[in-house]
Subunit: 304 residues, 3 copies
């Protein structure tokens, strides 16, 4: 029998949020709470196998479906690792989650501007070993799988590179799914108690069909003082070339107080401003072109 | 990584049940089976943080939704504990579950007469430390959360006090949700191998809109002899002031044989008698005003 | 608190499959991946109690419902074991899973010809102790439970015998659910690096109402060489007596390479050939009478 690790996150906020044109709402919100199981087995001769199952749980009411967050089996060795199953948006993780550090890129202050075109399910991939700081990752989902899931007969694939070099952490990602594609570059630079970074993304039809091309920028600055962190995070998305006024900006300021490595209390303010035809933030309730969203929240996050 | 505790209950009966006017049914029934995960972290300086996720599982067919039974994160210290998330009916737990001891207040012999007006989800609360036997608890859910969940724009709140004093265990609870409210008092008295107790509840519109006021009484007596327990449990609910003949009585006699602290076998008989317009026990199949329910069951309960 | 064991299986293939008349499909497929929890408690005096909860998880997208795979509580002693709850198809396990050994009888190469008439839910059963290699098992589900679940008022019951004798493993199973019934015999014989076996089944209305009687045969041969196994598996189902041309054949050849007891990589080819009116393999996509199915797959299976 293997040693299975149970892990997860409970992250709950109380927020005062406002959509422009609507009245302010005081609500409890879930921030990416989840529960997972993982394990690995040493097969000898440098080989290992392992698995990971992870589910999302809404911490405000307990609602939860299946293990759609991750369901993976892998086989690895000196030559890298083969991954099979459902494991999500590696471009998203590499580019966005590495930059959106103030709250694990969940909840109302998550990055709403990135275009993630790679599906998570029916995913076969290869991850290289660490080659002097460089790690490459490839992913693929067949057009037959996509047709079964989405009804569209298109291959999906991605290629990702991460490179750590001194105080720098660099990454590039490319993904393509039918007519949609995106490529992006990310950089982080650590300087004492400061961390600076950002990404640039160029996508085509990434969020809407036939929308055309778009540029998307994100910047982040973090200052750490003992158990406290101050985060600034700002993003700017151009109009899609075929849709004038479809752009948006988003910025967040956040304070984290770490009670331990696993537990923090925090406060944050985020503002998402759509241009006159922008519809970013539908999950936040944005339903009218050009509608804006603001939220101030305080929260408690606990990893287990 | 924290030490996560897995816990739960499997409690399954075979019962012969009868609704008045229908034929008797021999069926296997679930009695509140569940599965949960919890953990806590010592943050130093007297602080602790922790979480709990719990799901219900129908032990007769395995049916189970998400973690609606509990999904909570908390932060505590000498000053008490702040709770955030979904954690259910504290009035119900304090008053009913403390009295309905023969089978954890689950299954056909659960208390069908108590009016629980406090919702479990989107719950923020405070629990005091133990002050010489006295523990206070406050809970709240904003009208914005309630509107998002129920479509009704009403605050929900509750206040609870528990007091242990020698052989006595006393409690009081008040909850209000819009036009509905309830207050209740509970007492238990231990005397050698005997335990006596009961509660009184006064509610307004607690189970039906515009129903008016109602009194609800419950009495319990337990005799323990070694591994065996004999339980008597009886309840009486008045008519609602605006609904004549809406009352009911319920009584249960049960024998428990404890094979260990965690595992018991048991037999029980319960009878729910509605007055001519009473509709208590809808979850038991009561569908006609005045219909009665009876069940005799034998079961096996195992905590893990 | 008990020691709860977490266990499961992740088994994912990449397959090229073809339904006759359709084009070939390259797809990732789930092969019976699951996650479970079990435990037992020593009650003293030879008594034990325990539980098991198990859920299926689609490893290609994480989809998962509740604990329908198993939800059971049991009490056992020298006299055998009483089982209560949801635990599936013991005839199926005893006869089919013992023979269909190349891939745990899951995925496209599972046995599609066996008629399993015993439902899993609302199941009460008794398992005898091992009496010189002989183990008996009885199962029952009341007509009231079946009516509640299926709308049909019929008792369901089964009786199973397993007998291990030297190099032989023998089993017999009988199950009846209303108008449907089946009896079956299974034998396995181990001879050095070889294992031979098969089953014979006779069922009435087992897969279709009013279909009449049918014979169903399955043969298996396995050759083990170190970490490698070669499997041959072939089945033949007669026409149902009231439905001419309703029969089918199925055969599979598989190679397993065991990286450990828990982890294997494998390749397999399976072919399901329906006679002109056969509809075996609906779960594989067979939708036209007489349609055939073929699949070649490679996979990775990991137990945890």
């Amino acid at each position: 029998q293997s040693a299975v690790t149970i892990y997860g996150r409970v992250n709950t906020t109380v927020e005062s949020s406002k959509l422009s044109g609507d009245s302010a709402q005081n609500q409890m919100r879930n921030n990416g709470s989840n529960l997972g199981f993982l394990g690995e087995e040493d097969l000898g001769a440098g080989l290992k196998a392992g698995f990971q199952f992870e589910r999302d749980i809404d911490s405000t009411d307990g609602a939860s479906a299946g293990y759609e967050a991750q369901s993976e089996v892998w086989l690895g060795g000196d030559w890298g690792r083969i991954r099979l199953g459902n494991y999500g948006g590696q471009s998203f993780k590499t580019i966005v989650e590495a930059v959106s550090l103030h709250n694990d890129n969940v909840g109302t202050s998550a990055d709403w501007l990135f275009a993630d075109v790679m599906p998570a399910d029916h995913h076969i991939g290869y991850v290289s070993p660490d080659i002097g700081g460089l790690v490459l990752e490839l992913g693929y989902s067949t057009k037959d799988d996509r047709q079964a899931v989405d009804g569209t007969r298109k291959n999906a694939y991605e290629a990702i590179a991460n490179y750590d070099w001194g105080n720098w952490s660099l990454a590039a990602a490319y993904a393509k799914y039918g007519d949609a594609n995106q490529w992006s570059l990310r950089a982080l630079y650590a300087m004492g108690d400061f961390l600076f970074g950002g990404y640039y993304q160029r996508d085509k039809n990434g969020l809407l069909p036939d929308a055309g091309n778009r540029n998307n920028y994100r910047f982040v600055g973090i200052y750490t003082l003992g158990a406290n962190e101050i985060h600034l995070n700002a993003g700017y998305a151009d109009d899609y070339s075929n849709q004038s006024g479809s752009g948006a900006t988003q910025w967040t300021v956040a304070w984290n107080h770490n009670l331990s490595k696993r537990t923090k209390i925090y406060a944050q303010y985020t503002a998402l401003n759509n241009r006159r035809n922008g519809l970013y933030g539908e999950d936040l309730g944005v339903h009218t072109p050009g509608q804006d969203f603001r939220s101030f929240g305080v929260g408690l996050r606990h990893y287990f």
